[in-house]
Symmetry: C2
Subunit: 300 residues, 2 copies
């Protein structure tokens, strides 16, 4: 596989662009494909079976472009679908955002014998216990407090900033009990949440580090590419970015730069009817553009 | 078509159950099919093309059960997809929730020469101007103030009640400017919003009627069935209810009664791969359960 092969980054919508932006900043020479499943966003209250199917469909769609690595840039999709995706596409290198975030949280917890690590995330991510597992593997004595915070994505998507009183009240409701329990570190377990990172940092004060997994994820991708000798050399030309969405390309074009941090080219629209699940008893779409009756007649 | 044919009610998820509940209460002898597209919920920030496709797929799925009437029990889907659905299924009787709500709003506005009618709804419903059109047809001098209130659905879905301070603050932010403009009537332009109807009524006071289109929609359906001689007689046996969802039947079973108002049987899960869009160049799914190669060999 050539080093100029792209890195494929997939997400339920716009949030994964914070991860794509960190990868662009850390590895500016890499070509990136970004897929946002805006017709079926959000994933945060859906089941593992459904989210895994969506992820398989997206990877299957991007596979002909021969990505050298696939990043599931969504905590919910990582929690519910990463293992399934690795099994479904055994030849592909695939990673998520939870392991890098867990690693950074454990590092930030320092040498405290039994640190209390907090995670805020979607309902589905919390229910999956993916952070408990990932952190537990690294620090057996860590205590965890994980809280679903489903209002934060809609607050971000509505365009509310950290100065909005509804944002401040909702975050205070979510974070105060965790703070009062003596939380040592907070992980932002959803790619939308870094939009309020400054506000959350001010609320918790300097003693509680706030972990945003986007930067950690970019470093994880770099390490994986180095290990497999697929890192594009720093003197290569600047990498390209191609975006795909399943709904509303103009809205994506309007909002994307806020998450990505750099200008974003117009996305390509992909119909959900052109997405296929390679594991679903091999459904084959035969697209008949003439009426079925006419086709039957011509076959006689 | 027999009078015992079912009424099909479709929605993006749970909200349409408020409409289904009003139809059950008004027409207890009618058989009801309810379809909640929980794998792709919410529709409120998606495009007309995508929502129309989803609606065509759902009607196509329910059509073999020969519904005598179809209700699009979602304001966003009514605003974006009702006209398209009527064109796509010319033999079917289909109605939505906006016309009944608009009719009730005009009646509630009374004889004031130029009443100010407020509507709160999803982004997509507001952008569609469907309420302006429906109300403008009935009262040419009505003035309108329509506001997208995208936080209300997530607040309801998180299970927050009217006593929650975040709910109260968000509603105050949304409604106070409309109230200060001198709004005469408020339409709840989304089937989730009746959950906060009492709180909204207390905030606005008795001079501003709050219109919840579920009851109006049920009366509209009754009138349509009477007009077409398809109303089931009141002495018939109690009607049945069958529910279909595209994701997470247990969550639906857990939350449905809160919206429907009556006990709800376990829903049937429908894979989104079994939904077809009859207008999309007639895609035909050929499901090959054996590996493709084996099928080819057996055909030789």
């Amino acid at each position: 596989m050539p080093v100029c092969s792209p890195i494929a980054i997939l997400d339920s919508g716009l949030g994964g662009l914070t991860v794509a932006g960190a990868i662009r900043a850390a590895l500016p020479q890499e070509n990136i494909l970004y897929f946002g499943d805006t017709a079926r966003v959000p994933y945060g209250a859906k089941t593992a079976a459904t989210v895994s199917k969506f992820v398989r469909q997206i990877i299957d769609y991007l596979r002909p472009q021969e990505p050298k690595h696939v990043v599931i840039a969504c905590n919910t999709a990582t929690a519910l679908a990463l293992d399934d995706a690795r099994k479904s596409f055994p030849g592909l290198s695939i990673s998520g955002v939870i392991e890098p975030g867990a690693k950074a949280a454990v590092a930030a917890a320092g040498k405290k014998p039994s640190p209390l690590i907090g995670v805020i995330a979607t309902e589905a991510t919390v229910r999956s216990k993916a952070y408990e597992v990932a952190i537990g593997r690294r620090r057996t004595l860590a205590r965890m407090v994980c809280r679903p915070t489903p209002l934060i994505v809609p607050l971000v998507e509505e365009g509310r900033g950290g100065d909005d009183p509804v944002v401040q009240l909702a975050l205070k409701q979510y974070l105060l009990p965790m703070y009062q329990e003596g939380m040592d570190v907070l992980v932002l377990g959803c790619t939308h949440y870094p939009v309020y990172k400054d506000l959350i940092g001010r609320m918790l004060g300097p003693k509680v580090p706030v972990i945003d997994s986007a930067d950690q994820c970019a470093q994880d991708v770099r390490r994986r590419l180095v290990d497999s000798s697929l890192l594009r050399t720093a003197d290569a030309v600047a990498g390209t970015l191609r975006c795909y969405v399943t709904d509303d390309p103009p809205r994506f074009a309007r909002l994307a730069q806020r998450f990505f941090g750099f200008p974003v080219p117009k996305p390509t629209w992909v119909s959900i009817e052109d997405l296929h699940d390679p594991s679903a008893g091999a459904p084959v779409q035969v697209r008949i553009h003439a009426p079925a009756a006419a086709v039957m007649r011509s076959a006689v």
